[in-house]
Symmetry: C2
Subunit: 485 residues, 2 copies
């Protein structure tokens, strides 16, 4: 496509992250924001393929954990949306379908803001006995709809990509075990595959999903120092079972309320972290597995050598075990280097007359851009080797970055000082994460221009010491604080 | 789940197809129609996995033909929907989102009835030069929305599964070549993989998509003798390029209008054909590749043998190269046989104390239910062998069925007679498939309680002979007629 995708990014990531991010989204052709309806973006092929891979990884993981896929309608009846009072929170954000053709509909229906109120009424029909439990279902590759005021590609949209599991158990212990399994899924997909480091929190009581007993989240940091919550698992207790009349006959013959959990990794949020954390001043950097194309071959030729070089490139492509594109458009090699570096293709192969005559290829890795000359018969093993180098390097950089942006503070002044210079996570002693801690959290937010209490580490909470940075009472917890999206 | 899925179907497929179909959809747990919003169904796990496989097959095929995946928003601006006048046809069926929270929206937006009017405005931004052509994009795993009056799972819904390619070419010849490629995709997926026979038609001018020059469709027959159109390719000419201002600079430096095609296989319609054509009085029958589980192992035990039989089954499952479920619930073996036959699992393995002691397994094929005793070390090769037998049998049955329901008629009386006894396709001489043939088509419909002219065979039209069955003029074409959904 002829969009000017090949101009470099005009700002440095560390100097103006917000502008850098917008430019990468546009110039790497991840999304097109010119659709013309606010908060609704076009997922362009390159971006879509990365997002689809994230979906696939999650699908594989939850299906290995015995979740069955299903697909529920886009729309929800008003009476179901109203049934669970805590969902009232969504009400101002819900879009309503009210007309078909020019006629007013008999019953208005809402565009799904999240799945609970559409799925649980069916669960109340599907679940009858202990034999049906655990019941684990999920839906993937859908979008949800919320009328957000400000929107940003992959961070906040009126339409955004969704994935949700909804599980039902006979006991609370089974449900709590699922919370840890969900965390394993996050670890597998977000950390091991996407190389995005995170801390896993149990949210304070004042910041959980209101319909839940507890909310657990893997949170990472974006380069502007703000926290990016990439998923959540809610321990729903029996609240929704009550509201939606889900019950089962247990082994003892008695009718009982089951226990529920739901897990929602944010496909967009993971994408935003991928872009923000791994990218550099040249553009996107992607873990090998996530890249839509692993290799780009750039032919370099003068008048006389064109045919032989292109043929060599096409033959080379056929011999590769990796998805590959030969860029034989009429742009300059430099233009092509920039274009595919912007898009985060892990490996570039340069082929000129020299390579043709020597039966070699020059391999360039996206991360450090060092060039390696490789004999053509060794090309697949070399790519394999370099892919591991790339992944290791991405992982290392992310780890260092994450560590460099996580600090300790003993008191409010220290926290404020860190927030001025580094931002990121600040680990502090805190009085309480129950409702009685909310006052201190509010005050913290007020005095620091928006620093939030993220929660305590989960599943292994750290040992408390020192006094609450706000009220100076003996701290019951070590909590992490950060500014948030 | 404790729904009563294991009662058999209470009618015969050949005696009351409509009721048989409804029962299979429900009892094989393909969809749940109790969601409570008319025309919106829940795609249950078993059905969803079959539909997902159809999507995957199509995705693989169009990506091999260089289509790039993208995802467009659910909603469309009114002005874009209005831009292409032929789309006015959709207007009475369009759902409108008019409110967010309790507030009226500044601009109402439509739920996508089909993709042209949302995709082509972006194409006008993306396509600039001959270098950008051909441009081939597609979106998959989405739904579209039309306010249909009567709805039926997988045949007609207010929400239904969608898949659409949208291609742009420099010349009409390139576009026509794509029409044939799309037909190859239908052949590959619908016939070769799903074993659904079809005829490929060029629609008469009065029955094409109004915005197109021509419409091409692969149509099959359902057991009630009605035609099921499973896909369409539209040769859009330059109509949409004009309406949406898509143009490109050609090699000669001139600005030109490109030529467009779009291809829309109906995921639901293919599913309906799978259910209807292959199924029998016991339930669903699925081609091996389409079955969510290939094998079900049913343990048969008495008090003393339970543990050893179950262990043998679990070990057997681990040794299989095929996706498999061990049904060790406490239902009777007969109940389990019915359940998994209803769901169309291709192969059942029965294991009792005899099999355990002899180190064998009893293999039963879904189609003919003959039992084969197999040594445990030969089980994978036996399943492989039986899977081919199954696919061949399904294919053969479908071919015979399709041939038995395609007839010739020389005149209207003969056609009427066939319609009374057999229905299906009737091949007749016809005056014209241009606009001037419409009168005869209308009259045919009127006199036969709804028999339609499907079109002429494509790409190889048959040689005309005889006189038009309606006006008795010399026939220019051999057309196929049928009743339609």
């Amino acid at each position: 496509m002829s969009k000017k995708t090949n101009e470099g990014i005009t700002v440095k990531k560390n100097e103006d992250f917000s502008e850098w991010y917008s430019q990468v989204v546009q110039k790497a052709e991840l999304a097109d924001i010119r659709y013309g309806v606010q908060g609704f973006i076009v997922h362009s092929p390159w971006g879509f393929k990365i997002l689809r891979r994230i979906y696939e990884l999650l699908e594989q993981d939850v299906e290995a954990d015995d979740h069955e896929p299903f697909l529920f309608p886009l729309v929800i009846k008003k009476e179901n949306l109203d049934k669970e009072e805590e969902h009232a929170g969504f009400a101002p954000e819900v879009f309503w379908v009210t007309k078909s053709g020019s006629k007013k509909m008999e019953e208005e229906v809402a565009l799904r803001p999240t799945g609970e109120t559409q799925i649980y009424p069916m669960y109340s029909l599907w679940i009858r006995s202990y034999n049906d439990l655990p019941y684990k279902g999920y839906q993937s590759r859908i979008c949800t709809y919320r009328s957000e005021k400000t929107t940003r590609p992959f961070l906040r949209g009126r339409e955004f990509m969704f994935f949700e599991t909804h599980d039902v158990f006979a006991t609370h212990d089974d449900a709590l075990e699922q919370v840890e399994k969900d965390l394993t899924t996050s670890d597998e997909v977000i950390w091991k595959q996407c190389k995005i480091p995170f801390l896993s929190f149990k949210r304070p009581q004042w910041d959980k999903f209101m319909g839940a007993l507890n909310t657990f989240t893997p949170d990472t940091l974006m380069p502007d120092g703000k926290r990016n919550q990439m998923a959540s698992t809610h321990d729903l207790g029996q609240n929704f079972a009550k509201a939606f009349d889900i019950n089962f006959q247990d082994k003892d013959g008695k009718q009982k309320l089951p226990w529920q959990t739901c897990y929602g990794p944010g496909i967009w949020r993971i994408m935003a972290a991928l872009i923000g954390i791994h990218g550099d001043d040249t553009g996107l950097i992607l873990p090998f597995d996530l890249a839509p194309k692993k290799v780009v071959i750039v032919p370099i030729f003068k008048e006389g050598s064109k045919d032989s070089v292109i043929k060599y490139c096409e033959d080379l492509k056929k011999s590769l075990d990796f998805s590959c594109i030969v860029d034989s458009t009429d742009a300059t090699p430099g233009f092509k280097y920039n274009k595919w570096e912007m898009k985060g293709v892990p490996i570039r192969i340069e082929v000129g007359p020299k390579e043709v005559s020597e039966k070699t290829a020059t391999v360039v890795l996206r991360t450090d851009k060092t060039k390696t000359s490789v004999k053509i018969e060794d090309i697949n093993s070399e790519i394999k080797k370099q892919s591991l180098t790339l992944d290791k390097e991405i992982e290392k950089r992310a780890k260092v970055y994450f560590k460099d942006n996580t600090h300790d503070a003993k008191d409010l002044n220290e926290l404020k000082k860190i927030m001025k210079s580094h931002r990121g996570f600040v680990r502090v002693p805190f009085c309480s994460v129950e409702k009685d801690g909310e006052k201190c959290a509010d005050k913290l937010k007020e005095l620091t221009d928006g620093v939030n209490v993220c929660g305590t580490l989960y599943p292994k909470e750290e040992k408390a010491s020192g006094n609450c940075i706000m009220c100076d009472k003996k701290a019951k917890h070590i909590v992490y604080t950060a500014k948030s999206y």
